[in-house]
Each structure stands twice: as structure tokens, then as C-alpha cells.
Amino acid sequence: MTASQLIARQSLAGLARDRSVLILTTFFAAMVLVTAWLGWSATNTVNAIYADAAQYLTASAQPVPPNPVSQSAPLAVLRNLGVYISLIGAFGAIVIGQLLIEIDRRAGTLPLIGARPFDRRDFTFGKMRALVTVTGAMMAIAGVISVATLFTIPSLVLGLSDLLHLALFLVAGWAYITIFGFMALGAAARMSATAGGLIAATVVWLVVTFVLPELTANVHPTAAINPVSTLAGTPDSGFFHLMSWVLGPFSLAEGFAWASGDLLSFLPDGLAPRGPVPPAVTLPVALILAGLFAVRSVAKLDLNAGGPDV
């Protein structure tokens, strides 16, 4: 086992014993379940109403229109999932990113690790590997719940293309939350104060989630947590068109919402992404930049710090 793998494994074991991580991941899984149940319940309600209507129409010898459930895109049932990933998933990734440094700092083990014969880069990559594993596990949980839900809804027919789109959506969600995890990892490494990394990354997350959408498209914070209203078009004003063009590439929450709508097939017709660069570019670029920030920051982490005597 390489040093990087050892660091990652130890970090994951530490996270698994941390109550805040367990609470957050459980909450995330619970909200994904709620999302799935809401989609399942709404679809079943439509199915039930359609069955009654079809029975009535058949009895009165009138033509029966097709079931709207079978007419709509099956993945649209999961439209709320994007919001929970954007809110709880991203915040969970921030907490995990910060904890990955804080666990060692709090235990005072950084000097013990730093005095071991392995390359410092292995420590950095071990921490990043642990983060990527946890965010991947979170999206895997979301994926399992989603697929299980979709297969239990009558009248919904899932094709290979749907499953591929769902997989792409989960990858996009993983990339989105990992961006914030990397930010928190890097910020925690740069700031010796216990909550410094957490606060810094949370501020960035709040700005991306609530402030930028308000500037680009007048999407108020309450609307920003609604999967449909967050996909509003840019208001017809010079200010918003300018802001949308300038800030659009940085408005990652809107980019992810647009990608979610596109991949889960509930994107309003004709809605273009904000700014000149599509989310298919901005999200990977942001992930790479956040990863580089984490690499540089963890490489500069003061291994002398930590423990009760600091």
C-alpha cells in the first residue's frame, strides 16, 4: 500500500468515526429518499387520476388520451435531487474537506506524519483521494436510491439512454460538490484556526448558491432552492444581461442547475446557460482549479501545527 493510500485510508477511517460526518451523510441520504418519494408519490397520483379518467372515458365511449406519465421524461421525476445535491451535498463536502485536515490537526499528529519517510505530495494526494471517495460515495447513495425509485414507479419506462443521462447527472453532481470539498480542504490547510477553512469555503458556497444567481437573473434566495424557478430566464434588462454574461461562468450553482435540467430532461425549452461558456466547460474547469488550490494549499500546510500546545 502506498503512502497516499495509507493517508487516504486513515482519513476515511477518521471520518467514519466523526459524528458530524455521519449526521450529514445520513441527512443527505434521507433527503434523497424524500426526493425520490416525492417523485414517486406525485407520479403515482397522476397515474391514479389517469386510470380513473381513462375508465370514465372508456365507459362513455370517448377516446382515451395517452398517460402523461408515459409521455414525460422519466428522469424529470428526480428534479428535486439537483437542489439537495447543490445544498446538502455541497455543504457536506465542505464539512468533510475541512475535517480531513482538522482530524490530524486536532489530534496533534501532523508532526508525527511529517517526520515519516514519504513524499509530502503523498499526504496531499491521500487527502484528496479520501475526499473524492467520500463525495463519490455520497453520489453513489443518491444513484442507488434514484434507480430503485425509478424502477418502482409503474408506467415509467427507463431506457439505456435514461440510465446514461442519470449517470452523467450523478457525475456532474459529484464534480459540483467536490469543487466545494477541495475548496474547504485547501482553506483548512491555509488557515490554522479550527473553523477558518469551514467558514471560508461556506462563504464561497453561499455566494455561489445565493448571491450570484440574484445578480445574473434576479433569482431570489428562496427561488434558488426551487429546482424549477432557479431555471428562470435572464430578465430583459441591460444590467442583468451584462451581469449574466460576466458572472455567468462563475455562477456554478446556476450552471449545475442548468446541467441538471438538461440531463434530467426538465430544462425549459430554449433556456440558454448563463454567460458565454456552457456548464459542460465551467464545471470541469472549476473542479480542476479547486483541485489545484487544494494541492497548493495542502503542500503548504504547516506540519508543526496542531495539538493542545498550539
Partner: protein, 273 residues
């Protein structure tokens, strides 16, 4: 731990668990610790003035000094945790700047107030550090080390439940798991009760008997008098005294050792000038 077996099996008397590639590079003819003008400054303010010092192999070196004298900075430089501003140093024959990985393979380090991972057991903590040190058979190394330190009953208990003294011994275990050539102890008796101090002294003596070089920062003159074979006194970042313990005890008793320490420490600014 089978001491008789290990005495013939390894350079320090314990079973040698260092990776072969690393042990082959040892240069036994050289002092275990050798510094030449080693210094450290923070924003231009010197924390350690250029230090030139040799600690021969097998010594227990007591590094004395007031709080902020630069003792911990020296250990952090020698353990490669800090980069020097000036000078060079070799530990176990390896240059700390150009060959830090070999230095780290040859050293053990116990920082002041070690805590370890509270939610992990002693075995889980030690196994992690053994693996990071490249120990080939971590489970055996952990068992032997715990046995050597007489703390086997702590093996499967969570470290978070331990007293200061118990933590210190587990901390010492992580420092010697891989059978280092040089052991750095930073205020190892800090916060320990008299029984803990005595137990630690006995461990240091056992390690010394097995040929390990020990570099120990301490405040306790009584510990220096009992455990160390040579001492250095650091004051305001400068080495103001360095001699063998034999030479010191030939001239001073334990009470006078305190006078010696206070005297050289107080004269430090004049010496520095």
C-alpha cells in the same frame, strides 16, 4: 520482547524493522547528529542562531534551555519539519536538506504533548504509523513495542480514554516502532507525575542500553543528571554550553548543575555579544 535475541540482531538492540534500502545507507562512523551553522529565522528575527554541534552515536544528549530558547526549533529542523535559514545538518549520516526521506527513515520523534487519534485504539494508531514508516510487518512491530514499553494492556483501548502518562508512552511507542537510529524527544516529561517521569526515565535508559542515540529537550535538571551522557545549554537561540555529563559531574553535583545552568543561561547575552 526478546532482548537477548534482539541485541544480536540489530544495531540498537531491538529487532531492526527499517527497510533494507534505508539501513544500508547508514554511515556509522559519523556522529548521529551533526550541525554546522544551523540557524532559523522568522521574518528576519532569529529563533536559532547558527548552531554547530556534534552528538556522537549512542549518546543521550540533554538539550537544556528556557522557554523560547530555540530547543523545539532545533528538533524541528533536525526532524526535517522545518527548513533551515542557514547552515546544514546531518542526522544518521544524511543531510536534512538534500536527503530528508533518509533522515526521516532513521529517526523517531516524540513531540511535546502528543495526543494521537482519540477515537482509535492504541493498535490502530500504532499500525498506521508503522505502515507510514515502511515497517514490513506492522502487527509484530506493534506487539513487540507495546511489550517493550510494558503497555500491552492498552493495546485495544481507545487513546481518548488515556491519562497524560499513558498517552506519552503510546506516543513513545509510535516513535520507536520502526527502530530508529536517532530518537528525538521534545520535553518528554512535561506534565507527567513523578511516577510517569520515573517510568519514562527507565525507558530512555533501556533504549540507551540498546545503543539508540537520544536527543532530548528538557527542563528537568534532575532528569539530565540521571539520564544524559552529554548536555548542551541553549539560551536565546545560542548554544552557550556543551560538554559530556562526566565532565560536568566531575566539577558539579546536582545542586551545582542548577547553578551551572542558571549561570550560563544568564551570561548568554554577553556570550552572544
Amino acid at each position: 520482547m526478546n532482548i537477548a535475541h534482539e541485541t544480536s540482531a540489530a544495531p540498537n538492540g531491538l529487532r531492526d524493522r527499517r527497510p533494507k534500502e534505508r539501513t544500508n545507507a547508514m554511515t556509522t562512523a559519523l556522529p548521529s547528529v551533526s550541525t554546522s551553522g544551523l540557524g532559523k529565522s522568522y521574518d528576519g528575527a532569529p529563533a536559532l542562531h547558527p548552531l554547530t554541534l556534534d552528538v556522537p552515536k549512542g549518546e543521550v544528549f540533554g538539550f537544556l534551555g528556557h522557554n523560547g530558547a530555540g530547543k523545539t526549533t532545533t528538533i524541528r529542523l533536525l526532524t526535517t519539519l522545518l527548513a533551515p535559514t542557514t547552515g546544514t545538518a546531518r542526522v544518521a549520516g544524511h543531510d536534512i536538506a538534500s536527503d530528508p526521506l533518509r533522515v526521516r527513515a532513521a529517526i523517531g520523534y516524540l513531540p511535546e504533548n502528543v495526543r494521537l487519534y482519540d477515537r482509535f485504539t492504541t493498535r490502530e494508531n500504532l499500525t498506521f504509523f508503522a505502515r507510514l514508516s515502511g515497517v514490513a510487518n506492522p502487527a509484530d512491530a506493534v506487539d513487540e513495542t507495546l511489550d517493550f514499553l510494558d503497555i500491552t494492556p492498552l493495546t485495544d483501548r481507545r487513546v481518548g480514554t488515556f491519562s497524560k502518562g499513558m498517552r506519552q508512552r503510546v506516543g513513545l511507542a509510535q516513535a520507536i516502532l520502526h527502530r530508529p537510529e536517532v530518537l528525538f524527544l521534545d520535553e518528554p516529561t512535561s506534565g507527567l507525575d513523578p511516577m510517569g517521569v520515573r517510568q519514562l526515565r527507565e525507558i530512555v535508559e533501556k533504549l540507551h542500553d540498546r545503543g539508540m542515540t537520544i536527543f532530548m529537550n528538557t527542563h528537568l535538571l534532575s532528569e539530565v543528571a540521571r539520564s544524559c551522557t552529554s548536555i548542551g545549554v541553549l539560551a536565546h537561540g545560542r548554544l552557550v554550553f556543551h560538554d559530556s555529563m562526566q565532565a560536568v559531574t566531575d566539577k558539579y553535583d546536582e545542586r551545582s548543575l542548577e547553578d551551572l545552568y542558571v549561570g550560563v543561561a544568564e551570561r548568554a547575552p554577553q556570550v552572544a555579544a
